[in-house]
C-alpha cells in the first residue's frame, strides 16, 4: 500500500518536499492555510542575486507537483500520533499520514513593534515586502500621496539582531535583499538618491558581493549606522536619525520613503503544533532540528521532519536543498 506523507505549509520548502516525495512514489498531502501556493516568495516581485521573477520559481515548483493532493485554505489545528502514523486535523476534518513534514516557514517581523521607526504611523514608512508589492503593481516605489520619491532610505536589520524586540539573530537575507531593492529603485528611478543604513553588510552567498558592487556603481550610498528614531515632516516625508559610525558623527536626513528591511520571525502559531508533537524550540524561537550539523531535518519525534525556514532564516536555495534532504530522510524513514 502506498504510504502517505502530510506536508504542512505550501511555501518553497513544502512544495519542493512534496515534489520529491511524489517522484519517490508516495501519496502526498500538502496543507496550505492561505489560498495560494508559494508562501512569501509568491508575494515577491524579483529575487536576488539575479533579479529573476519570483513567479518563475513558484510556477516551476507548483507545475511539477504530479499527484500531490493540495489542500489550500486549510489550517492544521493539531497533529496527533496514532498507532504507527499521525492524524492531522484541519478545517474540522481528519487526515491520516505515515509521516509529517513541517514546512511552516516564518512570518515577517511585525515592523510596528519598532515604534520609533514609525511603521503604521507614518504613511511613507514601508517594509521590504510592501516595496515588492509596489514593484509588482507599479514597477517602482510610489509615495502614499502618489508622488514620485526622490530620496529613499533602506533600513537594514529591522527585527533582526535586536534584543529590544527579542530578535537577537541575523535574518541572513535582508542585507542582500536591500542591495537588490536599492538597485531596482535606481533602475526604475535613475534620478533618485538611495541610501542603505546597515550595521554590517552580510553578503555571503554566490553573486551577493557582485550585487553589492553593482549597487555601489549605480550610486547607492551605504551608511554604516543603525536608525535610531524618525519623525514625520512636511508632505509626509520622514526625518530619520542615525549615526554615521565611520565618521563618528550623528547624521540626520529627510527622505521620501523609508523601507524597513523586516527580518524573519518564528511563526508562533505553528510552533505550538511543533511543541505538541514533542519538538523543541531553539533560543531564537524557531523549531530545533535533532542535530544542527548531521541531522538538520530530523526532529526529536520519529516520523516528524522539518524543512526550510521554520528552522531559522533561510534563502530559497538553502530551503530547496533542505527540502530535498528532508524528502530523502522521509523516504529512508518510510522504507525502513
Amino acid at each position: 500500500m502506498t504510504k502517505t506523507v502530510a506536508i504542512i505549509g505550501g511555501g518553497v520548502a513544502g512544495l519542493e518536499t512534496a515534489k520529491q516525495l511524489n517522484s519517490l512514489g508516495y501519496s502526498v498531502k500538502l496543507f496550505e492555510k492561505t489560498n495560494t501556493l508559494g508562501g512569501h516568495v509568491a508575494k515577491w516581485d524579483r529575487l536576488f542575486p539575479n533579479k529573476r521573477h519570483a513567479s518563475e520559481v513558484v510556477s516551476s515548483l507548483t507545475l511539477s507537483q504530479g499527484n500531490t493532493q493540495t489542500l489550500t485554505e486549510t489550517t492544521v489545528h493539531s497533529i496527533k500520533r496514532e498507532n504507527q502514523g499521525f492524524v492531522i486535523s484541519a478545517n474540522s476534518s481528519n487526515h491520516e499520514a505515515d509521516a509529517v513534514v513541517l514546512a511552516t516557514g516564518f512570518e515577517l517581523f511585525p515592523a510596528e513593534k519598532k515604534e520609533e521607526y514609525g511603521y503604521g504611523l507614518f504613511e511613507n514608512v514601508i517594509t521590504s515586502a510592501d516595496l515588492e508589492q509596489m514593484f509588482k503593481k507599479h514597477g517602482k516605489p510610489v509615495m502614499a500621496s502618489g508622488h514620485k520619491p526622490v530620496r529613499i532610505a533602506f533600513i537594514h536589520c529591522v527585527g533582526s539582531r535586536d534584543e529590544k524586540v527579542n530578535r537577537p539573530y541575523c535574518s541572513k537575507v535582508c542585507c542582500v535583499t536591500a542591495v537588490k531593492q536599492a538597485i531596482e529603485v535606481k533602475e526604475a528611478l535613475p534620478n533618485s538618491e538611495v541610501f542603505c543604513f546597515y550595521m554590517d553588510l552580510r553578503t555571503f552567498g554566490p553573486g551577493y558581493e557582485d550585487l553589492y558592487k553593482e549597487a555601489q556603481s549605480k550610486g547607492v550610498t551605504f551608511i554604516r549606522g543603525r536608525l535610531s528614531e524618525s519623525s514625520e515632516i512636511e508632505g509626509g516625508r520622514v526625518l530619520i536619525k542615525a549615526e554615521d559610525t565611520l565618521a563618528s558623527t550623528p547624521l540626520k536626513m529627510s527622505v521620501d520613503i523609508v523601507v524597513l528591511m523586516v527580518g524573519m520571525s518564528p511563526l508562533r502559531s505553528t510552533n505550538k503544533l511543533a511543541t505538541d508533537l514533542g519538538l523543541s524550540i531553539n533560543a531564537d524561537g524557531f523549531i530545533a532540528a535533532t542535530d544542527l550539523h548531521t541531522n538538520p531535518t530530523g526532529t526529536a519525534t520519529n516520523g516528524v521532519f522539518v524543512a526550510g525556514a521554520c528552522t531559522g532564516p533561510n534563502n530559497i536555495t538553502d530551503t530547496v536543498n533542505a527540502a530535498k534532504a528532508t524528502a530523502l530522510d522521509v523516504h529512508n524513514y518510510l522504507s525502513r
Binding site: K113, E115, E116, G118, L121, F122, E163, K164, V165, N166, E229, S230, S231, E232, E234
Partner: protein, 610 residues
C-alpha cells in the same frame, strides 16, 4: 511603706539610663532642626496637631493599625507586645496606687509589686486587678509566642523575607523575649508560695511549687526578671528598639508638618532611628521579589546610614519606585532619604556648558514630549491628535531639539547638573508665553512640578486630557475594549495622579481594576533611578508587573509613561501596550473629522484648529 530589695537595681539602673539617653537624643535632634522646622513646632505644638499626633501614637505605636492592615497575625503580634505591655504598666501603676492609697512610689514598685505585696486583701477591686494583670500578661505572652514563631518561619505573618539582624540586636531581642516569661515564672512561683496572684499565676504557681525545690527559684527568678528588663533598657539606644521612643517623637514632628527636605536634616536622624527594621519594605521591593536582591532594601539602607557606614551599593541599589514608602508602617520617607544620600556624593565635573538656548514658537499650551517621547512617536501623535480634536492651541516646544528635563540626573543624585538643564528648559518654556505646560512624560512632569518653580501650571497629559474630556471639549465614545491600567511610579506615587488616567480610560472602554494598583502598584522595572540592573532583569520585573495587572486577560494594557511603555514592549511580545492617549484616539469621535486639518497644522508647528 518602704519597698526595696537589691534585685530592683538592674531594672532601676537600666530605666534611668534609658530615660537619660533618650532625653538627650530627643533634645539633640530637636535642637539641630533648622529654623523653618523649629518654626513649625512652635506654631503647631499647642494646637490640634498635638492631639492628632497623640491619637496616631495610640493607633500606630500601641495598636499598630497599619501592620494589622498588612497582616492580622503580624499586627496582633505587635499590638499584643506594645499595647499589652503598655496596659500592664498602666494597670500595675493603678494597682499600686490603689493599694498604697495614692502614695508616690519608686518606678520599680509597680513592676515588682507581686514580690513586695503578697496579701492584697485590702486592695479595692482586688479580684478585677489580679484577673486583669494575669490576663494582660497572657496577652503579651501570646505576642511573644508569635515572635518566637516569626523567627522560625515568617510566612504565616505575611512576610516572605525577615530582616537579618546584627548581634547586638539579637542580644536585645533575647532579653526582650525573656522579660515576660520570667515575669510569669517569678509571679507564679510567688503566687504558689504565698497563695496570691491571679487566676493563671496562682494555678501555675501551685503546680510549680508542688515540685521539689521549686521554692529555691524564688529570688533567682525575681533577679532574672529585673536583669532582663535592665539589659533590655540598656540595649535600647544601641539597637533597633530605639524605634519605640523615637517613633513617638517622629509622629509629633510629622504632625507639625516637618518633612524630609532635599538634603539630610536632624529630622532625618529621627526617621532613621524610628525605623523598627521590621522588614516590611523588603517584601514590598521588587528587586527582592523578582531579582533576589534582598540586601539593599530601606531597612538595611537606613541602618547603614544610622551607623554612618553606608555604601554606594546601598545608596544606589534602589529603583526609587516609592512602594516601600507607602508600605512602611512607620511612614518613613525612605526614597527621599535615599535620594538625599545620592545627592551627598555627586560625580565631579558634569558640564552642560555646551547646551545652547533653544527657542520655540509661542502658544497657549506648551507641549513637551521629552526625550523618551522621541522614541514613542505614537504617543506624541495621539496626544496632538486629541489636542487638535479638542481645539487646543499648542506649541510643541521640543519638536526639533530636546534638552533632558534633568529628572534622570536628579534621581542619580546629580542635583546641580539637573539644575543646569532645568534652567535651560525653563527659559524655553517661559519664552513661549504659554499658560500651561503639558507633557506626556511623568518623569519630566515630576521635576517640572517639583523643582522648576514655574509660574504656570504643569499638567501630565492625562490630567489635561481629562479636563478636556470632562468639559466635553473632547468627545469620547466608549468602545467595548477591556483595558487594564498600569500606574507609572513617577505619576502615581510620585505626583499622586491616580484618578485622571482611570477616568479617561472609563470614557474610552471598560477599565478592569486590579489588586496591585495605585499606591501599591508595581514598578515596570524601567526605573531610571537604578543603573546597576540589566535589561534582562528589567524585563523580568516587567513581566511580573504585567501579570499583576492581568495583562493577558484584556485587550489593551494602558500606561501613561513612555518609559513604562518601552519597558513593557521590550519584555513582552504578547501584549498590546498603549499609552492612555493612544486608547483615547480609538474612542475619540471628533478626531476622525479633524484628521485632515491636523496634518496641515503639523506643518505649521503651532496653530489653532477649530
Amino acid at each position: 511603706m518602704n519597698y526595696y530589695h537589691h534585685f530592683v537595681i538592674p531594672f532601676t539602673a537600666g530605666l534611668l539610663f534609658l530615660v537619660i539617653v533618650v532625653a538627650a537624643k530627643w533634645i539633640g535632634w530637636i535642637k539641630n532642626l533648622d529654623a523653618e522646622q523649629k518654626g513649625l513646632i512652635k506654631r503647631n505644638i499647642f494646637g490640634k496637631a498635638s492631639l492628632h499626633a497623640t491619637w496616631e501614637v495610640i493607633t500606630e505605636s500601641l495598636l499598630h493599625r497599619r501592620i494589622f492592615q498588612k497582616n492580622f497575625l503580624l499586627g496582633y503580634m505587635h499590638m499584643s507586645l506594645a499595647f499589652g505591655w503598655f496596659l500592664l504598666i498602666v494597670m500595675g501603676n493603678l494597682e499600686t496606687r490603689f493599694f498604697t492609697h495614692g502614695q508616690m512610689n519608686p518606678p520599680y514598685v509597680p513592676i515588682f509589686f507581686e514580690f513586695f505585696e503578697h496579701d492584697l486583701s485590702t486592695l479595692r477591686y482586688k479580684e478585677i486587678f489580679t484577673f486583669v494583670m494575669d490576663f494582660l500578661l497572657l496577652f503579651v505572652l501570646s505576642g511573644v509566642a508569635l515572635a518566637y514563631m516569626k523567627r522560625a518561619t515568617s510566612k504565616p505573618l505575611g512576610m516572605k523575607k525577615a530582616t537579618k539582624h546584627a548581634f547586638i540586636d539579637k542580644l536585645a531581642l533575647t532579653s526582650l523575649w525573656l522579660i515576660f516569661p520570667l515575669r510569669l515564672a517569678a509571679e507564679s512561683v510567688t503566687a504558689g508560695l504565698y497563695d496570691s496572684g491571679g487566676f493563671f499565676t496562682r494555678w501555675l504557681g501551685e503546680a510549680i511549687v508542688s515540685l521539689p525545690g521549686a521554692d529555691m527559684l524564688y529570688y533567682p527568678l525575681w533577679w532574672a526578671y529585673s536583669i532582663s528588663l535592665g539589659l533590655f533598657f540598656i540595649s535600647v539606644p544601641f539597637t533597633r528598639y530605639m524605634h519605640i521612643p523615637t517613633e513617638t517623637l517622629l509622629i509629633f514632628l510629622r504632625k507639625y508638618g516637618i518633612r524630609e527636605k532635599n538634603e539630610h536634616t536632624s529630622y532625618t536622624q529621627v526617621e532613621l532611628n524610628a525605623c523598627s527594621r521590621c522588614g516590611i519594605c523588603i517584601d514590598s521591593c521588587q528587586l527582592s521579589s523578582e531579582l533576589g536582591i534582598s540586601n539593599s532594601q530601606s531597612t538595611y539602607f537606613l541602618k547603614s546610614l544610622r551607623d554612618k557606614k553606608t555604601t554606594d551599593y546601598l545608596t544606589e541599589t534602589c529603583m526609587l519606585c516609592g512602594r516601600c514608602d507607602f508600605a512602611c508602617p512607620v511612614g518613613i520617607e525612605n526614597s527621599t532619604i535615599r535620594l538625599n544620600q545620592r545627592r551627598e556624593t555627586p560625580a565631579s565635573a558634569i558640564n552642560f556648558g555646551y547646551v545652547p538656548t533653544i527657542e520655540a514658537s509661542k502658544g497657549k499650551i506648551a507641549f513637551f514630549a521629552g526625550c523618551m517621547g522621541q522614541l514613542t512617536p505614537s504617543v506624541t501623535k495621539a496626544t496632538l491628535t486629541l489636542f487638535n480634536a479638542a481645539g487646543v492651541e499648542y506649541t510643541h516646544i521640543d519638536k526639533d531639539a530636546t534638552i533632558c528635563c534633568g529628572r534622570p540626573l536628579q534621581v542619580n543624585g546629580e542635583e546641580s547638573a539637573a539644575k543646569e538643564l532645568a534652567q535651560k528648559n525653563k527659559q524655553l518654556i517661559e519664552g513661549t508665553g504659554a499658560q500651561a505646560l503639558v507633557t506626556t512624560c511623568p518623569i519630566c512632569a515630576r521635576i517640572f512640578a517639583e523643582s522648576y518653580g514655574l509660574s504656570i501650571p504643569v499638567y501630565h497629559h492625562t490630567q489635561f486630557l481629562y479636563q478636556l474630556a470632562a468639559s466635553g471639549q473632547l468627545k469620547l465614545t466608549p468602545t467595548s475594549n477591556l483595558i487594564t491600567y498600569h500606574d507609572p511610579c513617577e505619576l502615581g506615587r510620585g505626583l499622586g495622579i491616580y484618578e485622571e488616567p482611570r477616568e479617561l480610560l472609563k470614557f474610552a472602554g471598560n477599565l478592569v481594576e486590579v489588586k496591585s494598583s495605585k499606591t501599591d502598584s508595581l514598578c515596570c522595572g524601567g526605573s531610571l533611578a537604578i543603573t546597576s540592573i540589566n535589561q534582562q532583569q528589567r524585563s523580568q520585573i516587567a513581566i511580573k508587573t504585567l501579570e499583576s495587572i492581568g495583562a493577558n486577560d484584556v485587550d489593551f494594557v494602558a500606561t501613561a509613561c513612555p518609559l513604562c511603555k518601552k519597558t513593557f514592549t521590550a519584555a513582552s511580545d504578547e501584549n498590546a501596550i498603549l499609552d492612555v492617549s493612544e486608547i483615547l484616539v480609538k474612542a475619540c469621535t471628533n478626531s476622525r473629522q479633524s484628521l485632515k486639518p491636523e496634518q496641515k497644522q503639523r506643518t505649521k508647528e503651532t496653530s489653532t484648529v477649530n
